[in-house]
């Protein structure tokens, strides 16, 4: 099971490097109806648009962002689930 998961993640990571750069349907709609300009940046995120500050190689940056995001997502959900379970036991 664990090996299967690792293989699945590795495959996804490799595929993510070849992900389509085309706009998604919402971006497309915004372009065609001329409301793309309405987009505002409320706060600048650390890794905006899946890039890493200081990393010039875009593919490397994307792969690093994918790994970082996946690890953070794992930890956040795991931690939340753990807290919920503990709350229930008390």
């Amino acid at each position: 099971m664990l090996i299967g998961l690792m293989v699945a993640f590795a495959t996804l990571l490799i595929f993510s490097l070849f992900a389509s750069k085309l706009p998604d349907s919402l971006e497309r709609l915004a372009e065609s109806r001329h409301f793309s300009g309405k987009e505002k940046v409320v706060a600048n995120a650390l890794l905006a648009d899946y890039s890493l500050p200081g990393l010039k190689n875009k593919k490397l940056a994307l792969a690093s962002a994918a790994i970082a995001g996946a690890v953070i997502a794992f930890l956040l959900s795991y931690w939340l689930a753990f807290l919920l379970k503990r709350k229930n036991k008390n």
């Binding site: 996804l12 993510s16 992900a19 349907s25 409301f35 939340l80």
Partner: protein, 209 residues
């Protein structure tokens, strides 16, 4: 369909934030009551999987791309409550760290992709399994659930944009729901593939209410 900041009106932002916050509050309570020990690592794994899968854009039609949503898959494996929490974790990380989806629009994005997509996907999945009482129905149910979850999320996204008067309702609905009924086909194919794989290697992982 991650909505950025600026596309939704203040009213729609506020309303969707309130609905999502109330919904998640209820879901957290429900999850605390129903969570099984073996689901804890699975919630982590599903979050990581969905995060990476949502980075994988594939071309859909007419110069547009789409990506996997993972809501129906999460609901089939974790049940509707824990699945919504997993999707919310992914959306919060995408928004705060990667600027994918706006902060003021986070309520709307959670409502569409974490709450409505998991709930509709799970409802369709359970409904089909209740009507067709054969084990072979599982894959078909997963497939249809995945398609419905994507279309419902895009419908709600279109409704929010239309209510915000960002663009005329007819155009928004045609573009969003039309394109996502195609993206949903790929979601259906991948979801049923993953479910069929899990049925072979670890059938006990599938959520039982």
């Amino acid at each position: 369909m991650h909505i950025p900041d600026g596309f939704l009106s203040d009213k729609v932002c506020a309303a969707t934030w309130i609905i999502s916050a109330a919904g998640m509050g209820y879901y957290l309570k429900k999850t605390a009551l129903t969570l099984k020990d073996k689901m804890i690592p699975l919630m982590g794994v599903m979050s990581a999987f969905i995060f990476v899968a949502q980075m994988l854009n594939f071309p859909v039609f007419g110069g547009t791309s789409g990506h996997l949503l993972g809501a129906a898959l999460a609901a089939i494996l974790l049940g509707p409550y824990a699945a919504a929490i997993v999707l919310t974790c992914v959306l919060v990380i995408q928004c705060l760290l990667f600027q994918d989806g706006g902060i003021t629009a986070l309520g709307a994005n959670i409502l569409n992709m974490a709450l409505l997509a998991t709930l509709s996907g799970y409802a369709v999945y359970r409904l089909i399994l209740a009507v067709v009482k054969k084990p072979s129905a599982t894959l078909f149910a997963a497939m249809f659930a995945a398609w419905v979850s994507v279309v419902i999320a895009s419908f709600s996204c279109a409704l929010e944009l239309a209510l915000s008067q960002t663009a005329p309702a007819k155009i928004v609905f045609t573009a969003m729901v039309g394109m996502h009924s195609l993206t949903g086909l790929i979601e259906a194919a991948i979801t049923s593939l993953v479910v069929s794989f899990i049925l072979k290697v670890r059938p006990d992982v599938l959520y039982k209410p």
